[in-house]
Symmetry: C2
Subunit: 254 residues, 2 copies
């Protein structure tokens, strides 16, 4: 199993605080040491960092913790290999282009006997069940909607059906974004919280670090954090229901 | 115009020396300050770093100069915007998947009235002529060869024809790799050299730095460097002929 982290906000925000606690799980407070990755949307572009080293030993993870890259949509992943060897091409998140937009995907879980028919439009480069699922989702979206991105409600409905179908093969907690929105599907465990005015101090559970968000925000800021296990000890995290696909836009649950 | 740099070798090699000189052109010894990027193949995977900040001011470029990422195929680019605004999605190199492999592409030049018919299989995310050319090349390769990657000789021949066709619209110096080989097309200026035994000391032209490669190599190492303008003052660089598409494998010109 792996760990997932996502952030969706209404103004570009850095993820330094949350990533600092999350990265500790990559070989320190937890055993997820088979690589890690993070993708930040910035306009239509994506900054994509992957490393097959443990997050606690990675110079690139160190950079992310120090360099406050601001984004409204971030997806991060720490890997504990279940399928596919430890290699760069098997590190999440994965990135592909569909409808002239980059799509970013990360998965927690293990899919058994999941070998969908892939027509070649999107093919896995690595050997994980996760990348197979991502390619299958994009292929089905293009097959269903052609070359035109559909309205969000239709997209959500089709994605929900696809997630449900894939989850019949095993655990399918996943995060998916094309930059303007964040989809999160829970099959076993996923939690979220929305930080907004009045902001308070949050304390990481994985490291002795606190941040008083009232000092680094404006009253209009809104930040949703989605994660496989709560990151802080003094905030109220809401558990997803198994089978739920939630949609976040501008830091709001829709 | 922009600057290109590629490395193709027979054993994983770091690009710290060449990138140090190259990055100086991103705002210091030259005026290419509208972003930069670099992609390293590692097995089937790719580490892809892009930044719309000038290379000399970028914390990520600083990391690349300090952290010796080893790779047999690297493509780097420093941008001076001619078409498309300064934005992350317009930074080269671009990455797409075809035939279950990542393809990395960077371009120097300016294409006039280049608006090929794109069928949607590969669509630009940004607004550059370069990403349009990349999407067109991949679309034409899939149209020509279907879902099976062809033998290298056939691929080379078709790529040569495509590069020639695109170059009728303007300057098309370009680098393209799927990890195992490096294609380089010259329409105006591109230079290469192969470093091999006996290795000597090389001195950067853009910064007061020298490296004695005999101290950091084995006699079997072979490294080809391809660049828009020679990087060192005391090595013999060979100019490409206009219209040439060269292929490098394992540090050898084929």
């Amino acid at each position: 199993m792996c760990q997932l982290l996502a952030m969706n906000c209404n103004v570009p925000t850095d993820i330094v605080f949350s990533f600092t606690g999350f990265a500790m799980r990559g070989g320190h407070t937890d055993t997820h040491h088979d690589g890690w990755g993070i993708a930040f949307f910035e306009g239509a572009g994506v900054r994509h960092f992957v490393d097959h080293q443990a997050a606690i030993a990675s110079p690139i993870a160190e950079l992310i913790k120090r360099y406050p890259i601001k984004s409204t949509n971030v997806i991060a992943h720490i890997r504990k290999a279940t399928q596919g060897q430890v290699a760069l091409e098997n590190c999440h998140p994965f990135v592909r282009e569909l409808w002239g937009q980059y799509w970013v995907f990360a998965h927690n879980g293990d899919l058994k006997e999941f070998h969908p028919l892939l027509n070649g439009a999107f093919r896995p480069v690595g050997t994980t069940d996760s990348e197979r699922a991502f390619c299958y989702i994009l292929q089905q979206l293009r097959a269903r909607f052609g070359e035109q991105r559909p309205p969000l409600a239709e997209l959500r409905s089709v994605l929900s059906g696809l997630a449900h179908e894939i989850a019949t093969h095993g655990t399918f907690n996943m995060l998916l974004s094309s930059g303007g929105e964040l989809f999160a599907h829970c099959s076993t465990h996923l939690f979220y919280l929305v930080r907004q005015h009045p902001f308070d101090t949050a304390k990481l559970s994985d490291e002795d670090v606190s941040v008083d968000f009232s000092q680094v925000t404006t009253p209009d800021d809104r930040v949703a954090i989605i994660v496989t296990q709560p990151l802080t000890t003094n905030e109220r995290w809401t558990a997803f229901q198994p089978g739920e696909l939630k949609l976040f836009i501008d830091g709001c649950l829709r």
